[in-house]
Amino acid sequence: MFFIKMADMVIEIHHRYNYVKWLCKDYIVPDGTTPDLSVRVSREDIEAEIKASQTEVSAGYAEGICLYRAICKQLPMRFQSYLMHCAVIEYEGKGYAFAAKSGTGKSTHIFLWQKRFGDKVHIVNGDKPILRFLEDGRLYAYGTPWCGKEGFNENTSVPLHAICFIERSPINTIHSIKADEAVMRIFHQLLSPEDIQTVDALFPLLDRTLREIPCYVLGCNISEEAAEVAYYGMNPSIE
């Protein structure tokens, strides 16, 4: 068993395999810290995850996935937060979340930001950040140990400035979208709610998100200009 602090929550993790403790190494806090949440998964859960996996995965890896899912299922009800499948970067104190179908080019696009804007662009979470409303009323995106195969994460948080849905396109263009389109697009990047309690906890968080955070669709190629178009498109007050 070990303890981590992630997304401003202390979590007690009961583990069977060492992999997940290694994965969480940058988030570990001393044993005995009072936890906000405690999780463990069964052998059956792990076996089901191995079976369901598209690629061959070890039991330790599968346990890690199951534990994160178990944590994230409790987020809406208890912590005003939820998991979103997207890549989050921080630049100039602002968080930008990039969402797309796997393989579209989220990682490529955030590398372009680093190329164009330099090393002040930080990758907060390359794959599965936790988003959380804090008491100041703002939505924060967090680094977590579960951040994609490249392992891009920082144990930090950033207030979310915009959500950007990426699509491949020969030319770089960006436009803002309203809630009617955003709600459909964002839903595909979330853990599907399994019960009414989760629906009643999650949907108000999505409502707040879509009312407070501007959403955009970016059509882009792999030139540095893509990062420029994205940046200036999401910061209309900057010339």
Partner: protein
């Protein structure tokens, strides 16, 4: 004609959406957005109304020709059938 149990209707940022929970989530894994007309149709089918009652309800709410309403309602019902949403 009835929509299967397990579909939940909610509003997010002014948009009416439907998700599937429980058993039906095994066959429907997504989200449906309902505009105002679709909301009427959905709510009535949730209660097991028949096609004719649905058409009547829309004709009462909107000034549209019957032919158009019939076509739209049938199209909506076909979509629901195709997605395995109706009993």
């Amino acid at each position: 004609m009835k929509i299967k149990n397990g579909f939940v209707v909610r509003e997010i940022a002014g948009e009416c959406v439907v998700v599937a929970l429980g058993e039906v989530s095994k066959i429907f894994n997504g989200i449906i957005k309902l505009n105002d007309t679709a909301k009427i149709i959905w709510n009535m089918l949730s209660e097991g109304s028949d096609r004719e009652s649905v058409i009547e309800a829309i004709l009462q709410s909107y000034e549209v020709e019957r032919e158009t309403v019939e076509r739209d309602v049938d199209c909506f019902i076909e979509t629901l059938k195709g997605a395995n949403i109706l009993e």
